[in-house]
Point group: none
Chain length 412, copies 2
């Protein structure tokens, strides 16, 4: 089976957004051992879209399109697919009713133009969209499956993983070819350092494979193997995983979907501890991450965003003497902030951040971030110098603060 990707959207041709969808789909196809030889991008233009679809249908066994299936008049992918298939569009009554019901249940008027999304090329099967309103569809055109998904990445990815990849795998007749991946999550080493560490493994083999993904300071090492059974695939990964764990040691904090937020939540719950934050430069980023998982109220109580220096004194009880002697951006101030948060929020564990996210007035200060963690068993403080712009500095500091919480609990 040979699959092509066609991304639809004039904003791609104008360079306004990156085509991350094609990369995500390509990764899945590679993981599943499905051949993928061509990607295209075309604008919201009927004639050119039809030509692109027609060309792909001639070459490929399946074509995945992304974008152009929303409710507005410039969303014309379903019309283009129907034209190439030589069929009409027809209304999916079930979907139409479901959409109306959803809007009514939210107490809002249903815009009739939304009905566009319930149309599909005659004979096409609907691909459910649980994260948005535009369903996808699949239809066979001259021996090639055309699979149309939305352009919104979160919606597209869920539909791809839950519905499209299983379908393609079964169509490819490789039901017994199982792809498994193991992701080892590490923090505290740069992407370049991790890459260098695994240079030999990376070039060693095409199955299993080693890949690296970096995101806000976390480096994920992804091991992927393809085999007849899940068991056999995991057996192929096992020695590689052991080697990676050996080389990265304590830098590895989680496996697969273990996020640092989940790990902290579990560790706190096991000890019966509650957590809170005191944030200056991050102003709530750490707290919003700790509450990103459902059920976080079992371990998270609250946060104090003390951005103005006087609030560090009035709410968190940081002493003016500490501020005068060590400055706002210091481990001493961070530590007093954390102690203050423990008291004011009535929590067992408090994490605090104070720093200069930039762009700084004093260049030497930019990206200097002090983090403190206080637990019932002790204290941990550290100063980070984060590179990059304001957004990057704040995001990386949020990640660093969470890992400091993990490290402080590991010691206790």
């Amino acid at each position: 089976m040979n699959v092509e990707i066609l991304a639809v959207g004039t904003e791609l041709l104008l360079g306004q957004i990156l085509n991350t969808n094609a990369t995500e789909i390509a990764t899945r196809l590679a993981d599943h051992g499905i051949a993928h030889r061509y990607q295209g991008v075309v604008g919201d233009n009927a004639e050119r879209m039809e030509e692109a679809i027609r060309n792909a249908v001639e070459r490929a066994d399946a074509l995945i399109t992304t974008g152009g299936i929303g409710p507005t008049q410039d969303d014309i992918t379903r019309e283009a697919v129907a034209a190439v298939a030589g069929v009409d569009l027809e209304l999916d009554e079930t979907y139409a009713t479901m959409m109306r019901d959803r809007w009514e249940s939210l107490g809002r008027n249903f815009p009739e133009s939304n009905l566009r999304q319930a149309y599909r090329p005659s004979g096409a099967q609907i691909i459910r969209n649980d994260k948005g309103s535009a369903p996808g569809f699949r239809v066979k055109v001259a021996g090639c499956w055309v699979i149309s998904l939305p352009g919104v990445p979160a919606e597209m990815l869920t539909m791809l993983d839950e519905q499209v990849m299983p379908f393609l795998q079964s169509e490819a007749g490789v039901d017994d070819a199982v792809v498994v991946s193991r992701v080892l999550r590490s923090w505290g080493k740069s992407e370049a350092a991790v890459g260098e560490l695994f240079d030999d493994l990376f070039h060693g083999s095409s199955n299993p494979t080693v890949a690296f993904l970096a995101s806000s300071g976390v480096i994920k090492v992804r091991l992927t193997a393809r085999a007849g059974t899940e068991e056999a695939a995991y057996e192929m990964i096992a020695p590689l995983e052991a080697e990676v764990r050996l080389r990265l040691g304590q830098h590895i904090f989680g496996t697969d979907d273990d996020t640092i937020e989940c790990i902290i939540h579990t560790e706190l719950a096991e000890r019966g501890w509650k957590i809170g934050t005191a944030e200056s430069a991050t102003a709530g980023i750490v707290a919003s991450r700790l509450t990103s998982i459902p059920g976080s109220s079992a371990t998270f109580r609250g946060s104090i965003g003390a951005y103005a220096p006087d609030l560090k004194v009035s709410i968190l009880g940081v002493s003016q003497a500490t501020l005068d002697e060590h400055g706002v951006v210091s481990e001493e101030t961070a530590l007093e902030m954390a102690h203050g948060a423990r008291r004011v929020l009535s929590v067992d564990v408090a994490v605090s951040v104070t720093g200069s996210a930039g762009p700084a007035r004093l260049e030497t200060d930019t990206g200097t971030m002090c983090v403190a963690v206080v637990t019932p068993d002790g204290e941990l403080t550290r100063t980070f110098r984060m590179p990059g712009d304001r957004e990057r500095v704040r995001a990386y500091t949020g990640t660093a603060a969470l890992h400091m919480v993990r490290l402080a609990m590991e010691r206790s």
Copy 2:
């Protein structure tokens, strides 16, 4: 002139890297008013590369390829272009000598394999590469300029900006054709509703054009025009912009790069007001957005993340009677939270959020979000029912809370 882009590289088809080159080139083409209707990606495979080049040459006036011109055996773009052009490769003696000299001047032995890079399709002109060793080239194939550049972004971009764009503009004979865009940002209407509102405008014209982009509840209406001069292009947009502003009215909150965070910051600074937040379900999302812009300390003081109900009482001074009578998720509680934040944080404007981000224990509650804003001039409260999962509910609520701040200030 109509230009296509073909990115070459198996790593793109495996999803290992993002095709940022296509986005960068597309932006330049749009800026220069050069039509760009198609992008492709193909692997390091001679047959498929030749087919992709042949197809593009038939459709376009110029084709820019990126990648596949390095020194290794899998770099075969120059062979593929020569094959489609029906010419041989020939050694560029000048370039070969230059390369040898460069290596010798660094005191290193010249690897003979590097000589591959000094070959070009017969008749092609070399495009200098000041940042790397692989030169590009351009050659006319069946009336279409094929312009081959390296895949390394920094090298490609420099060659593009310094040599390729000036060449294309002069070839296009449109030194004075300019494309301008105006983005009108709106909040409070769904993408479908906005689309419906502009149905007639959308079908009205191909220049200027109207497009819609949605992101976390904000709908951007983009107007784009092409003309001889910037002034003339903006003149073409003007009546369309007036019409869009008329129809969307107060839903429009910003133009082009105006974010809601910047607008709030400016409005607060003009009035000499400071702001703070009291957040339950969003736990710092609103505060972290308000501090995302440099200089936010001039208007933002702090936040109270009162996730646990008792902290709403102990820190923010919400009365137990209000919690008992109206519940934690109520406009009454939100209002008392905002008043509490004004007091505790010593701010003029406070915005509060309380709600159930889900997945809820009681299904009716999920996505119910109450927002309150208190300014020196008055109060504003509203209840939202946000669709989607936890992450989406929280992100959309963050946006909604910021827009409530704007609306509260507009009234005052």
